[in-house]
Symmetry: none
Subunit: 238 residues, 2 copies
Amino acid sequence: MKKKILVVDDEPSISMLIEFNLKLAGYDVRCVHDGEAVFDMLKPFRPDLIVLDLMLPKMDGIQVCRELRKQNNAVPIIMLTALQDVTDRIAGLDNGADDYMTKPFSPQELLSRIQAIFRRTQSLPGNSDNIVHDIGRLSVFTEQREVRIDGREVELTPKEFELLLFLCRHRGKVLSRQQLLHGVWDYHFLGDTRIVDVHISHLRDKIERNARTPEYIMTVRNVGYKLTGPAAADSSLA
Amino acid sequence: MKKKILVVDDEPSISMLIEFNLKLAGYDVRCVHDGEAVFDMLKPFRPDLIVLDLMLPKMDGIQVCRELRKQNNAVPIIMLTALQDVTDRIAGLDNGADDYMTKPFSPQELLSRIQAIFRRTQSLPGNSDNIVHDIGRLSVFTEQREVRIDGREVELTPKEFELLLFLCRHRGKVLSRQQLLHGVWDYHFLGDTRIVDVHISHLRDKIERNARTPEYIMTVRNVGYKLTGPAAADSSLA
DNA sequence: CATTAGATTAAGGTAACGTTAAACCTGTGT
DNA sequence: ACACAGGTTTAACGTTACCTTAATCTAATG
């Protein structure tokens, strides 16, 4: 599978030069021309690396960087800067860039830096399939094993995390206690099905605003539980 | 600051000729006469470029090249080969050399190639692949193999350093013990081993303020360990 | 209001993690 | 070749956090 690279630069000449050379080198390349567009491409394209110009319309490179890291996205970033100013470099690296280059640069140099980064990170399988479940204010990061609510991390125990993840994967569907036991617990669990209730309770304590009026984990009486589905996401009722 | 060049050749006549001419051109030059000696000079001298003969005692040029790249060192290398054989050239470039020259050559030609390489890489200060990982008060310098906490250097053993570096490269992601064994130990160990735990423990002794409440290396029960991610850095609120 | 299903809480057992010391390598100098 | 030192690994033991059970409490349904 080709590695995917997102190039962000508003100067068409630079942008096309990079695109041409990276495609020649066998990468799957997409270009966008302002900072905000990065976030539109994130989910559909899911890049393995971003080449990011510092000066951009709408949202500059530093901001993009910071926002990505804030969203817990660890995609490697190479920052391009027209200035040789060291302070820019510091600012870039401080905000989460992995490497930087000053313009003008040779395509060959960019390529070797990209390869260097992939060499450093590719040892792990499936870099780009770090699934993130977003449900309103709730985010579940599989690879980081982190759960955030309004951006604040909440600490879950292993079972709680697995349970939540399983619910996420079947979002919107009602799951019986049996199904949950089969999905989250070991094959044959001999104990009581009530154990699901206990973990659900703990989960709600941690992720619901008010455990009495759950927004995410809904009880379906006589059946089981379900996680709020995509359609029902914002049921604005008084 | 003078650029530093390390010359590696076992023929004294060639070696001295190169040394003389490069010093004349204003470079800081050191010579060694076998492949292994390169690695002894790496830290104390920290060359900006290496002129490397293909045929060497103890460890040939290709091996030196490959080992340097394996250590993630991107110092530019000019390979010298007595043979005009193209396969040597290919082998050299495949293993990470930046340029090659066939003997005999004029000192002037070597000089111009050196200048060409510096022109290509001079856009950045110092060495290109010398990535620095900064995580709060912690800094990891890949090339110097140094780790600093609040600017104070801490001494790590090789394994500890490799382990920390691997965690840095996958910062934020949870890594299983298996993955760490793969990445750091370079073998596939099936079954139960606590080696990783032991080294994690030693690492924490050295880099954490309080090993009981780690700020950097977090345990993820039932899964493995992870280095504090980008976003979680500063959650300063009352 | 009785009955049933779900929610909550506390307590004990246990598997996973942390730590330490000792054994085992490996390279160096005498 | 030998002893020594630093580093790594193994193994044993201590500790903690988590899962489960079970008992009690609360909300829904008829």
